[in-house]
């Protein structure tokens, strides 16, 4: 074609043609390399509902603390609803929530949005990778249209290569991996999605992930959330606040009823985090200012009975069993609201009131320095102020099941132990208030 | 001039020095050739070609070399 001989035109057309071919190659390789997974299943499900013209009664937003807490099936059953969708994604930050909500609104027009908020959701990011994770996991759940709107917001950051499948999945460019992937996709196309109920965590449909694992009572470890354990209104990231408000406005404009809900987390956190009450009040004030409802399920008066440690999958996520309980509870709250009943009486206002009801040691941690048959132990435990903590130490030799008592209940946060063997074995440290019937916290450590 | 051509052919019999005009630019002569030519020319014509004169324009052809020799002889 003569047009292609014009040199100047060529200079303009060449990059365009290259881009075209490149994007085509990217799409082709993407279809080979993209793995099946939760986000794909979710996306496909929502597309089906959208195609059927269904409308979602409730959509949940938020991080993994959302997608592991709210079971759509339970809510649909308890409230007689047609469709509940859990759109939580790992590390989901307000910005991602906003764009995800817009995309979902376009597809299934929810009537109610429940946003799982957490005490550190508005704080400045601890690590750069969290920001990336938030963007990518939300992106994965969006429809094509939603992605087209979402990608430009990241174009001038260093995250943009991640939106190229050929870059993102380049380490999966292996014949075996591709073959397996295509086989799995063929199966998925034929049989649809089949949950693997045997796995530790499995996708159970409509965005909800069911957790088969759970903690044992008193055995929740003391965890620092990536180095962040403090909430302070001064450390709020204005960008995140901006998106919190954008979501609120969006719901207001489109007649969506918005809830902010803090899902149940292990009691340990309430003692370990600084400024938890401040965080609670911040969300409560925000909700009041915008005329929306805020629930903190950790302030429930019978939270200890409803969500004991063994209903937790880990220190901030519920197990599947716990999720079903939380979903049923939340359904109850909504039902009471619908009936005009007040739910205030079910909750405490203050962290101190919450703690006053906790009749156990929330968690314990030990630092152990072992040399041969000697061990130096330094313990830390989380509990109410009026409690005098006693500690017990037990030891099981390498390969043995039985624990031998080394140190009976006694006070003192630093002590030495004489171990029966010079290497290996497990040490169990327990903490107790000494009061009959009150819960014990314990941790087991594998020694070298 | 003939004396020069004999010297040049003696160093590199495979080159047609009457025709070539880019001996340095086209790297037809390598550095060993150059110093051989210089030492022989110095000896035969009693001049003192040194590094300052090792410019392409002085060595690109037999004529150029001859011109250099004449210039140096005064």
């Amino acid at each position: 074609m003569r047009i292609f001989k014009n040199k100047n035109l060529q200079t303009i057309l060449m990059p365009l043609c290259i881009a075209l071919f490149f994007l085509a190659g990217n799409a082709l390789l993407g279809s080979l390399l993209q793995p099946l997974g939760t986000s794909r299943y979710f996306r496909d499900e929502v597309a089906v509902y959208a195609a059927e013209g269904k409308q979602a009664d409730i959509v949940f937003l938020g991080s993994s603390r959302t997608f592991q807490t709210y079971a759509p099936e339970v809510l649909e059953r308890e409230l007689g609803l047609e469709l509940v969708i859990n759109a939580g994604s790992a590390t989901q930050r307000p910005e991602s929530s906003y764009y995800l909500l817009k995309d979902l609104y376009r597809q299934v027009k929810p009537k109610v949005v429940v946003w799982g908020v957490q005490w550190n959701m508005l704080l400045k990011e601890a690590t750069e990778s969290q920001r990336l994770e938030s963007a990518i996991t939300a992106y994965d759940r969006m429809s094509a249209r939603g992605r087209i709107e979402y990608i430009p917001t990241y174009m001038f950051t260093d995250l943009w290569p991640q939106f190229l499948d050929v870059y993102r999945y380049r380490n999966d460019f292996r014949y075996d991996a591709i073959r397996k992937n295509l086989e799995a996709k063929a199966e998925y196309k034929e049989h649809g999605f089949i949950p693997d109920t045997e796995a530790d965590h499995y996708y159970a449909g409509k965005g909800f992930t069911y957790s088969n694992t759970h903690c044992e009572d008193g055995n929740v470890p003391i965890m620092d959330e990536g180095g962040q354990i403090r909430f302070s209104a001064e450390e709020i990231d204005p960008e995140k606040l901006r998106y919190l408000e954008k979501v609120t406005k969006f719901c207001e404009k489109n007649g969506i009823r918005l809830y902010l809900v803090a899902s149940p987390i292990a009691v340990m956190n309430l003692y370990h985090l600084e400024g938890y009450q401040e965080a609670n009040d911040y969300y409560a004030d925000f909700a009041e200012k915008h005329g929306i409802v805020f629930y903190n399920l950790n302030y429930l008066k019978d939270k200890e009975e409803l969500f004991p440690d063994h209903m937790q999958c880990d220190y901030v996520h519920l197990s599947g069993e716990g999720a079903e309980a939380a979903s049923a509870l939340f359904a109850e709250l909504l039902r009471m609201e619908a009936n005009g009943e007040s739910t205030d009486g079910l909750f405490y206002d203050d962290l101190s009131e919450v703690k006053a009801q906790i009749r156990r040691i929330a968690a314990v941690k030990a630092d152990i320095e072992r040399e041969g048959t000697r061990a130096e132990v330094s313990v830390l435990s989380l509990h109410n102020e009026d409690v005098v903590v006693r500690y017990k130490a037990e030891y099981a030799k390498e390969g043995e099941e039985e624990f031998v008592l080394l140190r009976d209940w006694s006070e003192g946060e630093e002590f030495e132990l004489a171990l029966p063997s010079a290497s290996g074995g497990r040490l169990r440290i327990s903490a107790w208030s000494g009061v009959e019937g009150e819960g014990i916290a314990w941790q087991e450590y594998v020694l070298e | 001039m003939n004396e020069l051509l004999e010297i040049l052919k003696g160093v590199r019999p495979d080159i047609d020095f009457e025709k070539e005009t880019a001996l340095i630019d086209n790297e037809i002569l390598d550095s060993f050739d150059v110093i051989s030519i210089v030492s022989e020319v110095n000896e035969a014509f009693g001049v003192e070609i040194n590094m300052e004169d090792l410019l392409p324009e002085n060595f690109n052809s037999a004529e150029a070399i001859y011109a250099l020799i004449l210039k140096m002889q005064g």
Binding site: F4, K7, N8, Q10, T11, L13, M14, C17, I18, L20, F21, F22, G25, N26, L29, L33, P35, G37, T38, S63, S64, R65, A90, T91, Q118, N120, S129, L132, E133, I136, T137, D140, V166, Y167, R168, Y169, R170, N171, F173, R174, Y175, H201, T209, M223, E225, G226, V316 | V11, E27, D30, S31, F32, V34, I35, S36, S39, N50, M51, E52, L54
Partner: protein, 525 residues
């Protein structure tokens, strides 16, 4: 800023845009600013060394030129008897200036680069003598580009000394040349006469140059990312633990190292030259299909050629044509005839060249040994030239035949690879032990198990790197036969776009960086 990083691409784009937006007379100021910015992305405090080298060479060149001109004037006015005296005075003065300036420029480079080497050798001697104590070994980092701009500055000075061209009066202009970012990190060694002239000409934007330069930059990135970087895994795996492998594998790894180094180094050159081409500036070529060399001597006229040219012009010629070289030449002629007479001063000069070349590459005895190995082979090839001719004549080998040429190329490649045992090793002991291990424990049977060779690379990476090497070979062959440019022009528009897109896809597949392909299921948040 690495040449293959996205940041560099943006920097290049900005520089090119500003360059052609600026009025042509002041284009070079854009380069000046770009150079400073580029240097500052590394270590701005090292700029002081660059500045020092620039100031000293700039000032010395001006003084030399003044001396040249005043002596010319004196020569014109002098009577015939005085002419020689004036010349000698001039030479003496110039020598004095150079004798101060050149060591001054060289000194900081020598101290920083070779200080640790020097002191560690003294410590070794102290250790041998049994004296207690040790001198502290400095851990200095060589400022960016110092091995290159030092040599650029000295070449400039010497060129002005030799009256090749006038000294540059504008310091900013000279400094723009010295700090020119495309040749700052890995060369090529540029001459002010050529590059300076090219930089300060006025350049118009040309779509032809934009296309050619961009294609070349893409090719360079392709070579580095698709061929060189992946091969590094195999090389470091095998050479890092050579005891665990057979000689045949180690030798293979050294071959791969040569290919990898070529792809990396020439790829870098492609990016530098391509970018300069877009700006309209001509940067010297550094590679001319080195693996097609039939002798080691020829290899050094095809590999890193500007380095060879630098040492030829500033070490070889001075050493061979200086007084010592000439005297040696005369003596050898009287003893062994005219042929030896001609060669010996060259050999004498080559000793200096290869000592300097070896040490320039690194402050280690291994580099010196490496340099002398090259020297030995080159000199012996020249000396035995007649013997070779007799042998190939007797065996009726046609020198122009392809099989013979291929044999010579392979022989050269093998020799260069053997030399590499020294340039790669961290020390002489390791070099000899690796070489010894290779020879003594060759294990040729391993050739039957090809999977044991390209270790540390996935099959797909091997395929892509292999495709890249094949492409590189084809392009090199066509360039050698001078058919490449004609062929390129014939490729239709669509096919060309497709090929570029494929290259970009391969680059994206092979580029290193954070891996986020796995979804995140259970973050703590």
């Amino acid at each position: 800023m690495a040449f293959t990083s996205l940041g560099f691409l943006f920097f290049a784009l900005a520089t090119v845009t500003l360059y052609f937006v600026f009025p042509k007379k002041w284009q070079w100021l854009v380069l000046f600013a770009a150079n400073l910015y580029f240097y500052s992305t590394y270590e701005i405090r090292f700029l002081v060394f660059l500045l020092a080298a620039g100031l000293i060479s700039y000032a010395a060149a001006l003084i030399l030129e003044k001396q040249n001109r005043s002596s010319e004037l004196a020569l014109k006015n002098a009577g015939a008897e005085d002419k020689d005296r004036v010349r000698r005075e001039n030479l003496k003065r110039k020598k004095r200036i150079a004798a101060i300036a050149i060591p001054l420029i060289l000194s900081s480079w020598i101290v920083i680069k070779y200080g640790r080497f020097f002191i560690s050798n003294i410590n070794a001697l102290i250790g041998i003598s049994g004296t207690p104590g040790k001198l502290p070994e400095p851990e200095w980092i060589l400022p960016l580009g110092m091995s290159f701009y030092t040599f650029h500055a000295i070449a400039y000075l010497i060129d002005v000394y030799r009256k090749k061209y006038p000294a540059e009066r504008n310091f900013l202009k000279y400094f723009t040349f010295l700090s020119f970012f495309p040749h700052m990190i890995q060369g090529p060694f540029s001459r002010f006469g050529e590059l300076g002239k090219s930089i300060f000409e006025e350049h118009r934007f040309s779509t032809d140059r934009l296309r050619e330069g961009s294609a070349r930059i893409l090719w360079g990135m392709f070579k580095k990312i698709v061929i060189a970087d992946p091969l590094a895994a195999t090389v470091s795996t095998i050479l890092g633990d050579h005891q665990a492998y057979g000689g045949v594998q180690i030798l293979f790894a050294v071959f791969v190292y040569s290919v990898r180094l070529y792809a990396d180094f020439s790829g870098y050159m492609d990016i530098a030259c391509g970018l300069s081409h877009i700006l309209g500036i001509r940067l010297a070529e550094n590679f001319r299909r080195p693996f097609f060399a039939k002798t080691v001597d020829e290899y050094w006229r095809r590999w890193h050629v500007t380095l060879g040219f630098w040492f030829r012009d500033y070490v070889f010629y001075p050493a061979s044509m200086g007084k010592a070289g000439m005297k040696l030449s005369k003596w050898a002629r009287s003893k062994w005839g005219p042929r030896m007479g001609k060669l010996i001063s060259g050999y004498f000069a080559l000793i200096f060249v290869w000592t300097a070349t070896g040490l320039w590459h690194g402050a280690n005895w291994t580099y010196l040994v490496w340099g002398y190995l090259n020297l030995f082979v080159i000199v012996s090839t020249m000396q035995l030239g007649e013997v070779y001719d007799k042998i190939t004549g007797k065996l009726h080998i046609r020198r122009e035949s392809l099989p013979w040429k291929l044999f010579c190329m392979l022989r050269t490649f093998l020799l260069i690879s053997v030399f590499r045992f020294f340039s790669i090793a961290p020390g002489l002991k390791e070099a000899f032990s690796t070489l010894g291990h290779t020879v003594l424990d060759f294990r040729p049977a391993l050739l039957l198990k090809p999977s044991g060779f390209l270790i540390g690379m996935y099959r797909e990476e091997i395929l892509m790197a292999g495709a890249g090497i094949l492409a590189m070979l084809v392009v090199d062959i066509l360039q050698e036969k001078e058919k490449w440019d004609a062929l390129k022009a014939k490729v239709p528009f669509g096919l060309r776009a497709f090929i570029y897109a494929c290259m970009l896809l391969m680059i994206t597949l092979m580029v290193k960086g954070a891996d986020m392909s796995q979804g995140f299921m259970y973050a703590n948040f």
